[in-house]
Symmetry: C2
Subunit: 196 residues, 2 copies
DNA sequence: CTCCCGCTAGTCAAACTTGACTAGCTACAA
DNA sequence: TTGTAGCTAGTCAAGTTTGACTAGCGGGAG
Protein backbone atom coordinates (compact mmCIF):
# COMPACT_ATOMS: atom_id res chain seq x y z
CA UNK A 1 0.00 0.00 0.00
CA UNK A 2 2.84 2.34 0.87
CA UNK A 3 4.43 1.63 -2.45
CA UNK A 4 1.26 2.25 -4.42
CA UNK A 5 0.62 5.61 -2.78
CA UNK A 6 4.29 6.53 -3.15
CA UNK A 7 4.31 5.57 -6.80
CA UNK A 8 1.38 7.85 -7.54
CA UNK A 9 2.57 10.71 -5.42
CA UNK A 10 -0.97 11.13 -4.14
CA UNK A 11 -3.77 8.65 -4.07
CA UNK A 12 -7.13 7.94 -2.52
CA UNK A 13 -8.48 4.56 -1.50
CA UNK A 14 -10.25 3.79 -4.71
CA UNK A 15 -7.14 4.37 -6.79
CA UNK A 16 -5.17 2.01 -4.61
CA UNK A 17 -7.98 -0.50 -4.94
CA UNK A 18 -7.78 -0.33 -8.71
CA UNK A 19 -4.03 -0.67 -8.84
CA UNK A 20 -4.10 -3.68 -6.59
CA UNK A 21 -6.87 -5.23 -8.65
CA UNK A 22 -4.81 -4.65 -11.77
CA UNK A 23 -1.91 -6.50 -10.21
CA UNK A 24 -4.22 -9.30 -9.08
CA UNK A 25 -3.10 -8.60 -5.54
CA UNK A 26 -6.12 -10.32 -4.06
CA UNK A 27 -4.73 -13.59 -5.44
CA UNK A 28 -1.24 -13.68 -3.98
CA UNK A 29 -1.74 -11.32 -1.08
CA UNK A 30 -4.46 -11.09 1.50
CA UNK A 31 -5.92 -7.82 0.31
CA UNK A 32 -9.57 -7.61 -0.57
CA UNK A 33 -11.06 -4.19 -1.33
CA UNK A 34 -12.70 -3.93 2.08
CA UNK A 35 -9.37 -3.95 3.87
CA UNK A 36 -7.86 -1.03 2.03
CA UNK A 37 -9.56 1.87 3.77
CA UNK A 38 -8.78 0.55 7.21
CA UNK A 39 -5.19 -0.03 6.21
CA UNK A 40 -4.81 3.48 4.83
CA UNK A 41 -6.20 5.01 8.03
CA UNK A 42 -3.86 2.86 10.07
CA UNK A 43 -0.87 3.89 8.02
CA UNK A 44 -1.93 7.50 8.50
CA UNK A 45 -2.28 6.96 12.24
CA UNK A 46 1.23 5.51 12.28
CA UNK A 47 2.54 8.60 10.50
CA UNK A 48 3.62 6.66 7.43
CA UNK A 49 1.01 8.38 5.31
CA UNK A 50 -0.62 11.75 5.75
CA UNK A 51 -4.03 12.96 4.71
CA UNK A 52 -3.46 15.61 2.11
CA UNK A 53 -7.02 16.64 1.35
CA UNK A 54 -10.62 15.57 1.42
CA UNK A 55 -11.95 16.27 -2.04
CA UNK A 56 -15.68 16.37 -2.55
CA UNK A 57 -15.57 14.57 -5.88
CA UNK A 58 -18.24 15.41 -8.45
CA UNK A 59 -18.61 11.84 -9.60
CA UNK A 60 -19.17 10.07 -6.32
CA UNK A 61 -18.65 10.24 -2.58
CA UNK A 62 -15.94 12.41 -1.14
CA UNK A 63 -12.46 11.00 -1.30
CA UNK A 64 -9.62 11.21 1.16
CA UNK A 65 -6.29 11.75 -0.58
CA UNK A 66 -3.07 10.45 0.95
CA UNK A 67 0.59 11.13 0.42
CA UNK A 68 3.58 9.28 1.82
CA UNK A 69 5.50 10.95 4.66
CA UNK A 70 9.23 11.09 5.13
CA UNK A 71 8.86 8.47 7.83
CA UNK A 72 6.81 6.34 5.44
CA UNK A 73 9.48 6.70 2.80
CA UNK A 74 11.97 5.15 5.20
CA UNK A 75 9.62 2.36 6.12
CA UNK A 76 8.92 1.70 2.44
CA UNK A 77 12.56 1.09 1.68
CA UNK A 78 13.05 -0.89 4.85
CA UNK A 79 10.17 -3.20 3.93
CA UNK A 80 11.30 -3.40 0.32
CA UNK A 81 14.79 -4.48 1.29
CA UNK A 82 13.43 -7.06 3.70
CA UNK A 83 10.87 -8.43 1.25
CA UNK A 84 13.54 -9.02 -1.39
CA UNK A 85 16.44 -10.28 0.66
CA UNK A 86 14.63 -12.18 3.38
CA UNK A 87 12.77 -15.38 2.47
CA UNK A 88 11.07 -15.57 5.84
CA UNK A 89 8.70 -12.79 4.89
CA UNK A 90 7.21 -15.23 2.41
CA UNK A 91 6.49 -15.31 -1.31
CA UNK A 92 3.57 -12.90 -1.01
CA UNK A 93 5.90 -10.15 0.18
CA UNK A 94 8.34 -10.93 -2.58
CA UNK A 95 5.59 -10.66 -5.13
CA UNK A 96 4.51 -7.38 -3.62
CA UNK A 97 8.09 -6.13 -3.86
CA UNK A 98 8.57 -6.94 -7.56
CA UNK A 99 6.69 -3.91 -8.88
CA UNK A 100 9.05 -1.63 -6.95
CA UNK A 101 12.44 -3.11 -7.76
CA UNK A 102 13.09 -0.27 -10.19
CA UNK A 103 13.23 2.15 -7.26
CA UNK A 104 16.50 0.55 -6.15
CA UNK A 105 19.99 0.96 -7.49
CA UNK A 106 21.26 -1.92 -9.57
CA UNK A 107 24.09 -2.90 -7.28
CA UNK A 108 21.87 -2.78 -4.24
CA UNK A 109 19.16 -4.87 -5.87
CA UNK A 110 21.62 -7.51 -6.99
CA UNK A 111 23.10 -7.64 -3.52
CA UNK A 112 19.67 -8.20 -1.97
CA UNK A 113 18.80 -10.88 -4.52
CA UNK A 114 22.08 -12.67 -3.89
CA UNK A 115 21.13 -12.74 -0.25
CA UNK A 116 17.82 -14.32 -1.13
CA UNK A 117 19.53 -16.84 -3.35
CA UNK A 118 21.74 -17.91 -0.48
CA UNK A 119 18.81 -18.37 1.84
CA UNK A 120 16.83 -20.24 -0.79
CA UNK A 121 19.74 -22.55 -1.51
CA UNK A 122 20.09 -23.23 2.20
CA UNK A 123 16.39 -24.04 2.45
CA UNK A 124 16.70 -26.42 -0.51
CA UNK A 125 19.66 -28.14 1.13
CA UNK A 126 17.80 -28.57 4.38
CA UNK A 127 14.76 -29.96 2.61
CA UNK A 128 16.96 -32.43 0.77
CA UNK A 129 18.37 -33.49 4.12
CA UNK A 130 14.94 -34.05 5.61
CA UNK A 131 14.05 -35.99 2.51
CA UNK A 132 17.01 -38.32 2.85
CA UNK A 133 16.21 -38.82 6.49
CA UNK A 134 12.67 -39.88 5.70
CA UNK A 135 13.74 -42.22 2.90
CA UNK A 136 15.47 -44.45 5.39
CA UNK A 137 12.59 -46.39 6.99
CA UNK A 138 12.33 -45.48 10.64
CA UNK A 139 12.08 -48.02 13.39
CA UNK A 140 9.86 -45.72 15.43
CA UNK A 141 6.79 -46.75 13.43
CA UNK A 142 4.18 -43.99 13.22
CA UNK A 143 6.66 -41.18 13.81
CA UNK A 144 7.01 -39.78 10.29
CA UNK A 145 4.44 -41.21 7.94
CA UNK A 146 5.35 -41.66 4.29
CA UNK A 147 3.27 -38.78 3.00
CA UNK A 148 5.49 -36.29 4.81
CA UNK A 149 8.14 -37.23 2.28
CA UNK A 150 5.68 -36.16 -0.36
CA UNK A 151 5.37 -32.72 1.19
CA UNK A 152 9.15 -32.47 1.21
CA UNK A 153 9.53 -33.36 -2.45
CA UNK A 154 6.79 -30.90 -3.33
CA UNK A 155 8.57 -28.13 -1.43
CA UNK A 156 11.89 -29.09 -2.93
CA UNK A 157 10.62 -28.89 -6.47
CA UNK A 158 9.14 -25.44 -6.04
CA UNK A 159 12.13 -24.14 -4.09
CA UNK A 160 14.50 -25.32 -6.79
CA UNK A 161 12.41 -23.73 -9.49
CA UNK A 162 12.51 -20.47 -7.58
CA UNK A 163 16.25 -20.75 -7.24
CA UNK A 164 16.73 -21.21 -10.95
CA UNK A 165 14.57 -18.20 -11.67
CA UNK A 166 16.39 -16.04 -9.14
CA UNK A 167 19.78 -16.86 -10.61
CA UNK A 168 18.56 -16.14 -14.09
CA UNK A 169 17.06 -12.86 -12.94
CA UNK A 170 20.33 -11.72 -11.39
CA UNK A 171 22.19 -12.66 -14.56
CA UNK A 172 19.82 -10.55 -16.61
CA UNK A 173 20.12 -7.63 -14.21
CA UNK A 174 23.88 -7.84 -14.43
CA UNK A 175 23.55 -7.70 -18.18
CA UNK A 176 21.77 -4.40 -17.80
CA UNK A 177 18.09 -5.34 -18.04
CA UNK A 178 15.59 -2.78 -16.73
CA UNK A 179 15.99 0.92 -16.09
CA UNK A 180 16.78 1.10 -12.39
CA UNK A 181 17.02 4.01 -10.02
CA UNK A 182 20.61 4.83 -10.95
CA UNK A 183 20.01 4.61 -14.68
CA UNK A 184 18.05 7.81 -15.13
CA UNK A 185 15.12 9.75 -13.86
CA UNK A 186 12.21 8.00 -15.52
CA UNK A 187 12.34 4.66 -13.75
CA UNK A 188 8.94 3.18 -13.03
CA UNK A 189 7.66 3.20 -9.47
CA UNK A 190 8.99 6.56 -8.42
CA UNK A 191 6.62 9.37 -7.61
CA UNK A 192 6.02 11.81 -10.42
CA UNK A 193 8.07 14.99 -10.25
CA UNK A 194 6.40 17.55 -8.03
CA UNK A 195 5.67 20.92 -9.59
CA UNK A 196 6.81 23.73 -7.28
CA UNK B 1 -8.32 -29.20 11.75
CA UNK B 2 -11.10 -31.61 10.87
CA UNK B 3 -8.56 -34.00 9.47
CA UNK B 4 -6.31 -33.82 12.51
CA UNK B 5 -9.14 -34.56 14.92
CA UNK B 6 -10.47 -37.29 12.64
CA UNK B 7 -7.04 -38.89 12.36
CA UNK B 8 -6.70 -39.14 16.10
CA UNK B 9 -10.23 -40.25 16.76
CA UNK B 10 -10.35 -37.87 19.68
CA UNK B 11 -8.28 -34.81 20.35
CA UNK B 12 -8.12 -31.65 22.42
CA UNK B 13 -6.80 -28.30 21.32
CA UNK B 14 -3.28 -28.76 22.52
CA UNK B 15 -2.87 -32.01 20.59
CA UNK B 16 -4.03 -30.34 17.42
CA UNK B 17 -1.64 -27.51 18.13
CA UNK B 18 1.26 -29.93 18.40
CA UNK B 19 0.39 -31.82 15.25
CA UNK B 20 0.12 -28.63 13.27
CA UNK B 21 3.42 -27.43 14.68
CA UNK B 22 5.00 -30.74 13.68
CA UNK B 23 3.77 -30.25 10.13
CA UNK B 24 4.98 -26.65 10.16
CA UNK B 25 1.44 -25.56 9.41
CA UNK B 26 2.06 -22.03 10.58
CA UNK B 27 4.43 -21.65 7.63
CA UNK B 28 2.23 -22.59 4.70
CA UNK B 29 -1.16 -22.02 6.27
CA UNK B 30 -2.50 -19.17 8.34
CA UNK B 31 -2.78 -21.07 11.58
CA UNK B 32 -1.06 -19.75 14.66
CA UNK B 33 -1.72 -21.47 17.99
CA UNK B 34 -4.08 -18.74 19.15
CA UNK B 35 -6.55 -19.47 16.35
CA UNK B 36 -7.01 -23.14 17.13
CA UNK B 37 -9.34 -22.95 20.09
CA UNK B 38 -11.69 -20.55 18.38
CA UNK B 39 -11.70 -22.71 15.26
CA UNK B 40 -12.50 -25.85 17.25
CA UNK B 41 -15.40 -24.15 18.99
CA UNK B 42 -16.68 -22.89 15.68
CA UNK B 43 -16.50 -26.34 14.11
CA UNK B 44 -18.38 -27.69 17.11
CA UNK B 45 -21.02 -24.97 16.75
CA UNK B 46 -21.40 -25.94 13.09
CA UNK B 47 -21.95 -29.56 14.09
CA UNK B 48 -18.81 -30.76 12.32
CA UNK B 49 -17.17 -31.66 15.61
CA UNK B 50 -18.74 -32.59 18.91
CA UNK B 51 -17.46 -32.11 22.42
CA UNK B 52 -16.87 -35.55 23.83
CA UNK B 53 -15.70 -34.72 27.32
CA UNK B 54 -14.10 -32.09 29.50
CA UNK B 55 -11.24 -33.84 31.25
CA UNK B 56 -9.74 -32.22 34.29
CA UNK B 57 -6.17 -33.11 33.39
CA UNK B 58 -3.73 -33.72 36.23
CA UNK B 59 -0.84 -32.03 34.46
CA UNK B 60 -2.42 -28.73 33.52
CA UNK B 61 -5.68 -26.91 32.87
CA UNK B 62 -8.78 -28.85 31.94
CA UNK B 63 -9.02 -29.96 28.36
CA UNK B 64 -12.00 -30.14 26.06
CA UNK B 65 -11.91 -33.27 23.93
CA UNK B 66 -13.47 -33.31 20.46
CA UNK B 67 -14.50 -36.02 18.05
CA UNK B 68 -15.63 -35.66 14.44
CA UNK B 69 -19.35 -36.01 13.70
CA UNK B 70 -20.93 -37.82 10.80
CA UNK B 71 -21.66 -34.44 9.25
CA UNK B 72 -18.03 -33.48 9.79
CA UNK B 73 -16.91 -36.68 8.12
CA UNK B 74 -18.82 -35.65 5.02
CA UNK B 75 -17.40 -32.15 5.09
CA UNK B 76 -13.89 -33.55 5.54
CA UNK B 77 -14.09 -35.57 2.36
CA UNK B 78 -15.77 -32.75 0.51
CA UNK B 79 -12.97 -30.36 1.44
CA UNK B 80 -10.31 -32.98 0.74
CA UNK B 81 -11.61 -33.59 -2.76
CA UNK B 82 -11.80 -29.89 -3.47
CA UNK B 83 -8.34 -29.14 -2.05
CA UNK B 84 -6.74 -31.76 -4.31
CA UNK B 85 -8.62 -31.32 -7.54
CA UNK B 86 -9.26 -27.59 -7.48
CA UNK B 87 -6.32 -25.20 -7.86
CA UNK B 88 -8.41 -22.18 -6.93
CA UNK B 89 -8.36 -23.19 -3.28
CA UNK B 90 -4.64 -22.39 -3.39
CA UNK B 91 -1.41 -24.18 -2.56
CA UNK B 92 -2.01 -23.90 1.20
CA UNK B 93 -5.09 -26.10 0.93
CA UNK B 94 -3.21 -28.55 -1.24
CA UNK B 95 -0.46 -28.78 1.31
CA UNK B 96 -3.02 -29.30 4.02
CA UNK B 97 -4.59 -32.09 1.99
CA UNK B 98 -1.37 -34.04 1.41
CA UNK B 99 -1.27 -35.66 4.85
CA UNK B 100 -4.70 -37.15 4.21
CA UNK B 101 -4.34 -38.55 0.71
CA UNK B 102 -4.08 -42.07 2.10
CA UNK B 103 -7.70 -41.86 3.22
CA UNK B 104 -8.78 -41.96 -0.43
CA UNK B 105 -8.99 -44.86 -2.84
CA UNK B 106 -6.23 -45.02 -5.43
CA UNK B 107 -8.45 -44.56 -8.44
CA UNK B 108 -10.26 -41.65 -6.87
CA UNK B 109 -7.03 -39.93 -5.84
CA UNK B 110 -5.52 -40.30 -9.29
CA UNK B 111 -8.69 -38.92 -10.84
CA UNK B 112 -8.57 -35.84 -8.59
CA UNK B 113 -4.89 -35.28 -9.32
CA UNK B 114 -5.47 -35.55 -13.05
CA UNK B 115 -8.06 -32.86 -12.66
CA UNK B 116 -5.54 -30.66 -10.91
CA UNK B 117 -2.97 -31.34 -13.59
CA UNK B 118 -5.38 -30.14 -16.25
CA UNK B 119 -6.11 -26.93 -14.38
CA UNK B 120 -2.43 -26.33 -13.70
CA UNK B 121 -1.54 -26.89 -17.35
CA UNK B 122 -4.25 -24.44 -18.35
CA UNK B 123 -2.89 -21.85 -15.90
CA UNK B 124 0.60 -22.33 -17.31
CA UNK B 125 -0.69 -21.83 -20.83
CA UNK B 126 -2.52 -18.67 -19.90
CA UNK B 127 0.53 -17.27 -18.14
CA UNK B 128 2.63 -18.02 -21.19
CA UNK B 129 0.09 -16.12 -23.25
CA UNK B 130 0.22 -13.08 -20.96
CA UNK B 131 3.98 -13.27 -21.14
CA UNK B 132 4.02 -13.20 -24.92
CA UNK B 133 1.62 -10.30 -24.91
CA UNK B 134 3.86 -8.29 -22.67
CA UNK B 135 6.99 -9.08 -24.65
CA UNK B 136 5.60 -7.14 -27.57
CA UNK B 137 6.18 -3.49 -26.59
CA UNK B 138 2.89 -1.75 -26.09
CA UNK B 139 2.01 1.54 -27.66
CA UNK B 140 -0.11 2.48 -24.62
CA UNK B 141 2.95 3.65 -22.71
CA UNK B 142 2.65 3.19 -18.93
CA UNK B 143 -0.08 0.53 -19.19
CA UNK B 144 1.90 -2.59 -18.37
CA UNK B 145 5.33 -1.79 -17.02
CA UNK B 146 8.15 -4.18 -17.69
CA UNK B 147 8.30 -5.60 -14.20
CA UNK B 148 4.89 -7.19 -14.67
CA UNK B 149 6.59 -9.51 -17.12
CA UNK B 150 8.89 -10.47 -14.29
CA UNK B 151 5.97 -11.49 -12.15
CA UNK B 152 4.67 -13.62 -15.00
CA UNK B 153 7.94 -15.45 -15.54
CA UNK B 154 8.18 -16.04 -11.80
CA UNK B 155 4.69 -17.54 -11.75
CA UNK B 156 5.38 -19.57 -14.85
CA UNK B 157 8.48 -21.15 -13.41
CA UNK B 158 6.78 -22.25 -10.20
CA UNK B 159 3.66 -23.43 -11.99
CA UNK B 160 5.71 -25.54 -14.37
CA UNK B 161 7.67 -27.06 -11.52
CA UNK B 162 4.42 -27.96 -9.82
CA UNK B 163 3.15 -29.54 -13.00
CA UNK B 164 6.22 -31.73 -13.32
CA UNK B 165 5.88 -32.86 -9.75
CA UNK B 166 2.18 -33.61 -10.11
CA UNK B 167 2.76 -35.78 -13.17
CA UNK B 168 5.54 -37.66 -11.46
CA UNK B 169 3.38 -38.17 -8.39
CA UNK B 170 0.55 -39.67 -10.44
CA UNK B 171 3.01 -41.96 -12.20
CA UNK B 172 4.27 -43.22 -8.86
CA UNK B 173 0.76 -43.72 -7.56
CA UNK B 174 -0.12 -45.70 -10.65
CA UNK B 175 2.91 -47.86 -9.98
CA UNK B 176 1.45 -48.70 -6.59
CA UNK B 177 3.26 -46.34 -4.25
CA UNK B 178 1.67 -45.77 -0.83
CA UNK B 179 -0.87 -47.85 1.03
CA UNK B 180 -4.16 -46.15 0.22
CA UNK B 181 -7.64 -46.63 1.58
CA UNK B 182 -8.43 -49.57 -0.66
CA UNK B 183 -5.14 -51.35 0.00
CA UNK B 184 -5.83 -52.53 3.51
CA UNK B 185 -6.94 -51.40 6.90
CA UNK B 186 -3.81 -49.78 8.27
CA UNK B 187 -3.57 -46.77 6.01
CA UNK B 188 -2.33 -43.66 7.75
CA UNK B 189 -4.77 -40.88 8.47
CA UNK B 190 -7.78 -42.97 9.37
CA UNK B 191 -9.09 -42.90 12.92
CA UNK B 192 -7.86 -45.74 15.13
CA UNK B 193 -10.24 -48.65 15.47
CA UNK B 194 -12.74 -48.00 18.24
CA UNK B 195 -12.92 -50.61 20.99
CA UNK B 196 -16.54 -51.63 21.59
C1' DC C 1 14.16 -28.97 50.85
C1' DT C 2 13.44 -25.03 47.94
C1' DC C 3 13.72 -22.36 43.91
C1' DC C 4 13.19 -21.68 39.29
C1' DC C 5 12.59 -23.22 34.62
C1' DG C 6 9.83 -25.01 31.24
C1' DC C 7 5.90 -27.60 29.77
C1' DT C 8 0.80 -28.12 29.52
C1' DA C 9 -3.60 -26.17 28.14
C1' DG C 10 -6.01 -22.54 27.42
C1' DT C 11 -8.16 -17.39 27.78
C1' DC C 12 -8.77 -12.76 26.20
C1' DA C 13 -8.93 -8.08 24.45
C1' DA C 14 -7.24 -5.69 20.70
C1' DA C 15 -6.49 -5.60 16.06
C1' DC C 16 -7.54 -7.02 11.44
C1' DT C 17 -10.44 -8.72 7.47
C1' DT C 18 -14.36 -9.09 4.80
C1' DG C 19 -18.81 -9.44 2.34
C1' DA C 20 -22.74 -6.84 2.07
C1' DC C 21 -24.44 -2.52 1.78
C1' DT C 22 -25.13 2.82 0.51
C1' DA C 23 -25.76 6.77 -2.33
C1' DG C 24 -24.78 9.81 -6.01
C1' DC C 25 -23.74 10.25 -10.69
C1' DT C 26 -23.40 9.05 -16.10
C1' DA C 27 -24.83 6.99 -20.23
C1' DC C 28 -27.71 4.71 -23.03
C1' DA C 29 -31.96 2.32 -24.60
C1' DA C 30 -36.92 2.22 -25.08
C1' DT D 1 -38.38 11.13 -20.56
C1' DT D 2 -38.03 7.46 -17.80
C1' DG D 3 -35.64 3.69 -16.07
C1' DT D 4 -31.95 1.01 -15.33
C1' DA D 5 -27.42 -0.69 -15.48
C1' DG D 6 -22.96 0.23 -13.98
C1' DC D 7 -19.30 2.92 -12.08
C1' DT D 8 -17.30 5.65 -8.16
C1' DA D 9 -15.92 5.89 -3.39
C1' DG D 10 -16.54 4.42 0.74
C1' DT D 11 -18.94 2.57 5.44
C1' DC D 12 -20.00 -0.94 8.72
C1' DA D 13 -21.13 -4.82 11.63
C1' DA D 14 -19.96 -9.45 12.08
C1' DG D 15 -16.58 -12.58 12.11
C1' DT D 16 -11.56 -14.03 12.49
C1' DT D 17 -6.72 -13.87 13.98
C1' DT D 18 -3.26 -13.04 17.10
C1' DG D 19 0.29 -11.94 20.60
C1' DA D 20 0.45 -11.57 25.30
C1' DC D 21 -0.99 -13.42 29.30
C1' DT D 22 -2.42 -17.11 33.22
C1' DA D 23 -1.91 -20.87 36.39
C1' DG D 24 -0.80 -25.48 37.82
C1' DC D 25 2.54 -29.03 37.90
C1' DG D 26 7.18 -31.92 37.45
C1' DG D 27 11.91 -32.15 37.83
C1' DG D 28 16.69 -30.96 38.25
C1' DA D 29 20.29 -27.78 40.54
C1' DG D 30 22.17 -26.17 44.59
Amino acid sequence: MLGVVRMRGEAHGYQVRQDLQLWAADRWANVKPGSIYHALRKLAADDLLQEVATQDSDIGPERVVYRITEHGEGEFFFLLHKAISDTETGPAMFNAALPFITTLDRGNLIFLLRNRIQQTAAAAGQTRLLLNQSIAPMEGGQGKPAHVREMFTYWLVTVEAELTWLKDFVTRLEAGEYALADDGADAFGNPPAQPS
